[in-house]
């Protein structure tokens, strides 16, 4: 819906002429030609003013950071006021003593992490990659060390759908960001939902995130040129290995024991295809290496990074790892033992810099079912979801990755993140339809066979009845904080 000149002017008065645009030319880069306007706020006050104007004129809004919303393009084909948060890109504070960092939405994870490495610290970077916002919660390669999701958000500055500024946790009663739950209002259940809709109405303008010890170097000794960066040497007391196992059960046994013994810095349940994508610089090379890997791996597997705080610590962790893997009949993938490949994987899987290779490069797009829950149950489901990919692979509709899934234990490994995706050609409607059907069937299977309730791709109404009818309370809450319905549920921003 086109804004009237008067309404447009009201928004323009908030951000200035240069920071609002409704020219149709820019809209394809924001997914939809039907957007009412794209606005670039600079700070919380401007966000608040924009949201209040949206309420005044009953205009729906949506905010976004770097843009990983590829899976939901249909959801933004409406006449939204679109807030591109690119100008809100400051690291507000890195508090080394209390181990938290406060960021605005458009600080990317690579920036924050690079600053943290200099201080011997790290934080949870989402598996989507370090090109995404450092503000977001999520899961990823570092989960065994940093955990994920709601574990990491501390205090949050939140502009509600009505335009109120709410400061949660310690920030609600002081200027301190160290805690999300008090002294001050704890809004954990609202701000950190992992069940659908999975997003919080309104806009986060600043968050504090927990920091963790980083035993690695302040800066990796990277040599070479893009797209092949290697390390001149693997830093001391660090090691990378990929192990495959005869069965998902055996893999889970090893994964859980590694979690319980707290020896891994990274445990990422890559399948063989994701390893080959990581270490190769083109699709052709990727598929050649994958063929080799599929002959060598026994079954599902994971990548482990060991990082010792001293040589003794490193030696202990290595021995423990060897013992655990051996007991589960694990087999090391030889290629990853090559110091050059080990260096590539070490850097990429701690800096989370190759996720795009794993997901988009092969076909152009992917559809994923990411789930969080009791890891052994999730694994059983994912074996079936993998089998269900086989007909699509045989028809040449999706990329052949050996019908694989992936995932990893979080913290001590009993809970875990499990994920499975199909990669395909975005210009092939038949593939898109087949993948959508697979997606729907596997979500239904998860729910109907009581494995878990998925966290994406469903509505609260679909899964609410199985989860204490939370959807009823959610709707009441939503109506209370968003009486004008201006903050629709359109997926997480990235």
């Amino acid at each position: 819906m086109a804004l009237s000149k008067e309404v447009y002017k009201e928004f323009e008065d908030v951000v200035g002429e240069e920071n609002i645009c409704n020219d149709t030319a820019i809209m394809p880069s924001y997914y939809s030609t039907e957007l009412s306007a794209v606005i670039l706020p600079k700070n919380t006050a401007e966000v608040q003013a924009i949201v209040k104007l949206c309420n005044k004129h009953k205009l729906q809004f949506r905010a976004e950071c770097t843009g990983w919303t590829f899976m939901m393009p249909g959801m933004v084909s409406q006449d939204f006021i679109y807030l591109d948060l690119r100008r809100m890109n400051r690291i507000i504070e890195i508090n080394e003593k209390n181990m938290y960092a406060v960021v605005e939405p458009y600080v990317i994870s690579a920036q924050l992490q690079a600053e943290l490495f200099k201080r011997g610290l790290n934080f949870c970077i989402k598996g989507a990659g370090s090109n995404t916002s450092a503000l977001l919660r999520g899961h990823g390669h570092l989960d065994q060390t940093t955990s994920g999701d709601d574990r990491n958000h501390l205090a949050v500055e939140w502009v509600t759908p009505e335009g109120e500024i709410v400061r949660s946790g310690a920030l609600g009663s002081s200027d301190e960001w160290f805690c999300g739950d008090g002294p001050g209002p704890s809004l954990r259940c609202i701000l950190n939902s992992v069940v659908p809709p999975g997003t919080t109405p309104g806009i986060f303008t600043k968050t504090a995130t927990k920091l963790y010890h980083w035993p690695g170097p302040a800066r990796y000794p990277i040599v070479g040129k893009s797209p092949k960066y290697t390390l001149s040497e693997v830093p001391p007391n660090m090691m990378v290995r990929y192990f495959s196992f005869p069965s998902a059960e055996k893999m889970y046994q090893a994964e859980r024991q590694i979690g319980e013994s707290e020896i891994s810095y990274v445990l990422m349940g890559f399948n063989a295809s994701m390893v080959s994508s990581n270490i190769t610089t083109s699709n052709e090379e990727d598929f050649t290496i994958l063929e080799e890997f599929l002959k060598e791996v026994q079954g599902p597997g994971f990548l482990v990074i060991i990082a010792g705080n001293s040589q003794e610590d490193f030696e202990y962790k290595k021995r423990a790892l060897q013992h655990i893997v051996s007991e589960a009949d694990g087999k090391s993938l030889e290629k990853v033992e090559d110091p050059e490949i080990e260096g590539i994987m070490l850097c990429q899987c701690t800096r989370i810099s190759a996720s795009i290779r794993e997901t988009f490069r092969a076909g152009g797009i992917f559809t994923s079912i990411p789930i969080m829950g009791q890891r052994d149950l999730c694994l059983r489901w994912s074996v079936g979801a993998g089998k269900a990919k086989e007909p699509l692979i045989e028809k040449g509709l999706i990329v052949d990755d050996g019908a694989a899934f992936f995932g990893w234990g979080v913290e001590h490994g009993h809970l875990g993140k499990t994920e499975i995706f199909c990669r395909y050609d975005p210009l092939n409607p038949e593939a898109k339809k087949a993948v959508e059907e697979w997606h729907k069937e596997q979500i239904a299977r998860a729910f109907n066979e009581h494995y878990f309730a998925v966290t994406m791709g469903s509505s609260p109404e679909e899964i609410g009845p199985a989860l204490s009818n939370y959807h009823i309370w959610w709707r009441k809450f939503k109506e209370a904080i968003d009486p004008n319905g201006v903050s629709p549920e359109v997926g997480a921003l990235a």
Binding site: P28, R87, V107, N131, L397, D425, L427
Partner: protein, 422 residues
């Protein structure tokens, strides 16, 4: 074919925003993480590499709707190619090529920028990209008694380039180059008034036909003169002769060298000795057209293999910025006694542009200066006394930025440093 041939590539854009930043592993902190001047300055996603592809793909599908904003987006891009390098770290897809084709389409459809039209008028009338150029192209060489490569046989033709020829402030670069070549005993000549613009900057601006006219004219002259090797100290010229002429099958067997490549070769062969000490702390700026865009053109013709994967028959090799000219200038600087080279954060294939490319120097000088100032600030952060580059366009823009910002940093072309060392 034009833009249409890149439909598949444009569909590959996953909107990950990698095109806005240097490759993730190379990010060293909060500062100097940006790689694209256009998105860094204008902020709307539309100004990024990915945003440009999204727009081009949509217009290819739904028709071209030229608005002022669209042309603002199109012409406020230095065509520096940094977006493509960052994208191609992970993705197999063309980025700069469709962006370039989109601009060419704008020009073909008559949606040009008045400032660029003025430059092209000068090119058509005077054979130079320096509007208002006065005097003779080779006026800088007066009294030097250099050979005329179009009249006598020489081993090497020194192509001076438009800016160096017509901007008196840049004559020192040509003179330094001559001194170096003479010192090394190279049998060389220049084209005098037969030298013409390489056409490279016209191509960056979207004027493909004008570029092709220049390329054909230059190659005719070079063939007639029997030139086997061409050396230039202009990065734009280097990229035009070496890469663009090859892209359009006009280069033939001509060996194209940047002066840094030739100097490095002469040093290695013992023909040039850098004996004098030059006490200077420097940092080196990789010109886009010598670095990431200077890598050889890869001729490829093939088809996408139908199916789920984005693969081709025969396999397609992408130009990812890997094979640009990065080491020769560094080898030269490191070989000069007293010169201490400290690198900036953004170097080689992911170097920040000087701001002058893509016609921005002419169409939006303020943006060009803004971009150059960012580079000057980055250079200062290394503690260097001087920023050394290997292109007159970079030197000019840096000098303008320094003048405006009041920085104490000095700017040198690498030939000036070499001249001091011989």
């Amino acid at each position: 074919m034009g833009l249409e041939q890149y439909q598949g590539d444009m569909a590959m854009c996953c909107r990950c925003s990698a095109c806005k930043f240097i490759p993730m592993q190379m990010v060293q902190g909060f500062q100097y993480a940006n790689v694209c001047p256009s998105i860094a300055k204008y902020n709307y996603h539309s100004y990024s590499g990915g945003g440009r592809l999204n727009i081009a793909a949509a217009m290819l599908k739904n028709g071209f709707n030229y608005t002022d904003k669209l042309l603002d987006i199109v012409y406020n891009c230095q065509m520096c190619g940094a977006c493509g390098v960052s994208c191609n770290y992970a993705m197999d897809m063309e980025v700069l090529e469709p962006i370039n084709e989109f601009r060419i389409k704008c020009v073909e459809d008559g949606h040009t920028h008045p400032a660029l039209d003025k430059v092209i008028t000068s090119l058509r009338k005077q054979g130079t990209m320096v509007p208002g150029a006065k005097g003779k192209r080779a006026a800088w060489a007066a009294g030097l008694n250099l050979k005329d490569a179009t009249k006598e046989k020489v081993d090497v033709l020194y192509h001076v380039g438009c800016l160096t020829s017509y901007n008196k402030d840049m004559w020192k670069l040509a003179k330094a180059t001559v001194k170096i070549l003479q010192e090394a005993g190279v049998d060389f000549g220049i084209g005098y008034e037969n030298e013409a613009c390489c056409g490279g900057r016209a191509y960056q601006m979207g004027y493909k036909e004008d570029f092709l006219n220049q390329a054909k004219r230059n190659m005719d002259m070079l063939k007639k003169a029997g030139v086997k090797t061409l050396v230039t100290s202009c990065a734009d010229g280097y990229q035009a002769f070496k890469v663009l002429y090859n892209k359009y099958n006009l280069k033939g067997d001509l060996e194209v060298l940047h002066i840094t490549e030739l100097i490095a070769r002469l040093i290695k062969e013992g023909k040039l000795k850098l004996n004098k000490k030059v006490n200077l702390n420097v940092t080196y700026h990789d010109p886009c057209h010598l670095g990431r865009l200077g890598e050889p053109w890869i001729h490829w013709q093939g088809k996408r293999i139908p199916g789920e994967k984005f693969v081709f028959d025969p396999p397609k090799e992408y130009r990812r910025g890997t094979n640009g000219v990065y080491e020769p200038p560094r080898d030269i600087l490191n070989g000069i006694l007293g010169v201490k080279l400290t690198e900036m954060v953004r170097i080689k294939e992911y170097a920040w542009c000087c701001g002058a490319g893509g016609g921005v120097n002419e169409s939006n000088p303020e943006f060009a200066l803004w971009t150059a100032k960012e580079r000057i600030e980055e250079a200062e952060s290394t503690g260097a006394e001087a920023i050394v580059t290997a292109c007159p366009w970079c030197e000019k823009t840096f000098n303008e930025a320094i003048k405006e910002s009041g920085s104490n940093l000095k700017v040198y072309d690498i030939v000036e440093i070499v001249e001091k060392a011989i």
